[in-house]
Amino acid sequence: MTSQSPAGTEPTDAYQQAWSAIQNMVMNEGESWSGREQNHLFLNTGTSRFADVSFAAALDHIDDGRCVVPIDWDDDGRLDLLLKNRTAPRVRLMRNTVAGAGRFLTLDLEGVDCNRDAIGARVEIVANGKTFVRSLRAGEGYLAQGSKRLHFGLGDAKTVETMNVFWPDGSVDAFSGVKSNSRYSLLQGEDLKRRPPHTVAAYKDMEGETVELENRRISRLALVEKLPLAALRIPGFDEPDRRVAALRGQGPILLTFFSLDCPDCAREFRAFSRRKSDWDKMGLKIVPLCVDGTERRLEARAWLSEQGFVDFGGMADAWLLSALEVVMGEIIGRYPGTPTPTSLLLDREGQLVLFFQGRMAAGELLRDLRALEKLNPRDTSSSSMAGGRRARRVERDFEGLADDFGALGMNDMADFYRALAERRASEVEPSD
């Protein structure tokens, strides 16, 4: 029981705090809130009372359900259900297998004297003395739009007595004696056209299959806008620290934070070693950064040599980890913590494009490197690494980064971002 709402319109502190607290429990502490609830199907029994047949229908998923869209996906005259969830699977296609379903009639409308989609059209069918009505809508349920194909279930009626189409402009097309178990299309003012079914052989005798979920975590985060990190200071084992800017060569850079005691890290480095020739080909420079503290410096360097890493690397210090934390704030918006290994893939200009929290798949990294090669190094966008595009331009928060680094006394970083912010302000607004 959290604090309750006031009866009036002025929110009290306690009430606002209750919202915050409950939000924190759900967002940050792993609590469920009406979680694992079953979805429901209510069957219209033709009496005044529906029946909850969720389990009998096999629709009692415990997904966090959001949308349901009826759609005859297999074109067999029965409406299947497209479900959209918050939880995995994000989408389900539940095929209707009702063995004794009634006859049907479907209708595709095209407007001529009204909107071409015929949104707002109403169709009334009289069959077996009963009137069935459907209308064409755009937007129903929650965040959803259903099919524009009007679907009538008609019980055992082989033909319909009348079918009247009321178009949004007020005109009416009337038909009679139309056969059921058929698909029609209608151009406003014309005659009905029969449409053949799409016979999909692949569906014959196919059984459904439970969707198996995996526990594997996602590690990869693709930035949609690159984050310059040239000023980041990387400690060396024996050599002096180097800025990322000084590490820059012909190819991308992978900063990998690892621990000697972390099996996932060992696995990751073994995979790195196995594919050394691939990385060389792509010009990738891997910079291992051990997080186990300075007293294990020799051990770390020796271990890396065994793995074949003799190039630049070092012991991650508190400065670098603090910097990493600020970077995570900028790309994630909070500090969710991160395991070892954690890796940052920078392009040849020293700009962050991918951030891995946990072990990466070496094969995926190779694909990413190829994709990175195709990116224009001068373009600040890295949307393609996230597999998509942007409708609007967005910018990294250089001012915010400067402030955050400044607050930690990391003035070189603060200056770096301040300079970037100033340069951006002086540039003409770029167009995307």
Binding site: S32, L41, F55, T87, E140
Partner: protein, 574 residues
């Protein structure tokens, strides 16, 4: 309800100590919670607030399931049960499904109840029990009773049997903290459903499984992608992203456009001749990374090809189909303010031949003042927007001009255009969280909110709206998705405890809020009667886009209700 208000301060940045030796590179600092927040969290335990019914609920809940499992097991509890139905009357008998109902019955005990259940399930069945306690009635001294909704699921081979029953269970506290004494029980309702095989089969993998995004995207939920997307595209947690279907390539099969959380591309799945949903996002150029809440396929430029409207932030983005299934031309339509648009609904409201769009919005962006207040009937949400189409590429905001500015500060999540009053033009029903809904009657392009006089207010936590003629009388009935809350049902009716015993005049609203989904029967003239209870369609869960669908082609619209808010790793639910 999906308020996400970040009132908590961001954590301070603290330089790390030398890193430790476990495999955690940087720990999750969580948030530095202020004292009040910790206090609020403690109150999750009902004992802290001395909510006796809730403490009893927490004791009784696991026992109910155990008792019912024992009733169909070897050692039925020794207690009397009344109302065990002898025979149930057939309501639906169609071969593929049989539904029977019973009222009243004989006195017996849990062993007799178990026998009766087995009689229905068949001896080969494997039975699972689900139970929700919807009321606790405190009696004298240590006695109390609980009203329980029970579902017993039985599987035998391909067949399924489902028994929905109401059960009143009478208890005494033993005096020993954790223990309850079962006194007696009474069956208050009984419904049996049996099917020779399930009515639906999961074809998700068959249809989507060949896509390269199957494992990482389709099989991962919004929560699993949390902290794995660039915050510049917005951070999502609630899963308020929808779906649209439309025939993009004109081959007579509907494609699927999946709206996604920010940082993951929206997806266009083409419905292939082979029956797959093939990811063609890249070719179609529709892989927008912006958090996209809703989309509509519409032929906006009337060239015979389905275009796409997307809700991104407070704006619309129009993407025009070039006829080859490529959406090269983009036209942004500016909204107003900064608040996100949720559901979209299109109609030709003024009969000028083109479509216009109503866009729902939810919480105000401001932090303080954004909290829905008062909870049961808030009027401080973000205003909804009405976009009137001037030309295919030019849309103007006409919300106030057409009368839709009235009662426009609700927390709106969904809207539906339909000619509810049968006068030939589309009216508008808007489902609002935290309070009453809007029912805008359209009089020649001018709107008036008549929800109260039309009996369509449905003061509750509205999330979704659907319409069909469920009773075949020729007019449009309405199904509103709300929240069914067993906890709310237990707590809100306690006049002397709820809200500290104050504001008793509004307690009824809270009871109503917890009832669940609502079915409004159209009386033929655009006024409505709430028939939810007699129709038995309230008890979904935390429901979203409940929608009418005739699953058996008998012409009678059935209802699917997608339920559930946030499933996290903790099974213990708030």
């Amino acid at each position: 309800m999906l308020v996400a208000l970040a009132i908590l301060a961001l954590p301070r940045l603290i330089p790390l100590q030398e890193p430790g030796k476990d495999s955690v590179l940087l720990p999750d600092r969580g948030q530095d919670l202020p004292e009040w927040a910790l206090e609020e969290q403690k109150r999750k335990d009902p004992g802290v607030d001395q909510w006796r019914t809730e403490v009893l609920h927490d004791l009784a809940k696991p026992k109910i399931v155990a008792i019912l499992e024992a009733a169909v097991g070897d050692k039925p509890p020794m207690a009397e049960v009344s109302g065990i139905p002898e025979a149930a009357e057939i309501v639906v008998d169609r071969g593929w499904i049989a539904i029977r109902r019973a009222e009243g019955g004989a006195d017996g005990d849990f062993a007799a109840l178990g026998d009766r259940i087995w009689e229905t399930m068949g001896e080969d069945a494997v039975i699972h029990v689900h139970a929700k306690i919807v009321r606790i009635f405190l009696g004298d001294a240590r006695d109390f009773s609980s009203s329980v909704l029970v579902r017993m699921d039985g599987i035998a081979g391909e067949g399924r049997v489902q028994i929905n029953l109401g059960l009143d269970v009478h208890w005494s506290e033993s005096g020993n903290d954790a223990d309850l004494i079962l006194n007696a029980a009474e069956v208050t309702s009984w419904e049996e459903i049996s099917v020779p095989r399930p009515l639906f089969a999961d074809f998700t993998k068959r249809i989507f499984g060949k896509n390269t995004n199957w494992r990482n995207e389709t099989l991962k939920g919004v929560g699993e992608w949390r902290d794995r997307t660039d915050r510049l595209m917005g951070r999502s947690f609630i899963g308020a992203q929808g779906v649209a279907v439309g025939d993009v390539n004109g081959d007579g099969r509907d494609e699927i456009y999946l709206c996604q959380q920010g940082g993951i591309p929206n997806r266009l799945y083409m419905h292939t001749p082979g029956g797959d949903a093939a990811d063609v996002t890249a070719q179609a150029q529709l892989g927008f990374l912006e958090n996209t809440r809703a989309a509509l396929f519409l032929d906006i430029d009337e060239d015979g090809h389905q275009d796409l409207v997307m809700a991104m932030g407070p704006n619309l983005l129009l993407a025009f189909n070039d006829g080859q299934g490529v959406f090269r031309e983009l036209v942004p339509i500016e909204g107003e303010g900064v608040e996100d648009i949720y559901s979209l609904a299109a109609a030709d409201f003024d009969g000028d031949g083109d479509l216009d769009i109503y866009a729902c919005r939810y919480v105000l962006n401001g932090l303080l003042g954004g909290v829905p207040t008062p909870y049961h009937d808030a009027d401080n949400g973000a205003p909804n927007l009405f976009f009137r189409q001037e030309t295919s590429h030019r849309w103007v905001l006409a919300t106030d001009e057409v009368g839709l500015g009235e009662n426009n500060r609700k927390f709106s999540l969904a809207a539906l255009w339909e000619d509810f009053d049968g006068d030939g033009d589309p009216d508008l029903y808007v489902a609002n969280d935290f309070g009453r809904n809007n029912f805008y009657r359209n009089d020649e392009g001018r709107f008036t909110d008549v929800a109260d006089v039309a009996g369509a207010e449905d003061l509750a936590a509205g999330m979704g709206v659907s319409s069909a003629d469920y009773d075949l009388d020729g007019d449009w009935d309405i199904y509103v998705s709300n929240m069914f809350s067993a906890a709310g049902q237990r707590i809100a009716p306690q006049a002397n405890r709820f809200m500290g015993g104050e504001n008793q005049d509004i307690h009824g609203h809270y009871v109503r809020h917890a009832r669940g989904n609502t079915l409004l029967e159209n009386l033929g003239d655009g006024t409505f009667r709430d028939v939810t209870d007699e129709a038995g369609v309230a008890v979904g869960g935390w429901a979203w886009g409940g929608t009418f669908v005739d699953i058996d082609n008998d012409g009678l619209p059935d209802i699917h209700s997608p339920d559930g808010f946030v499933t996290n790793r903790e099974t213990d639910d708030l």
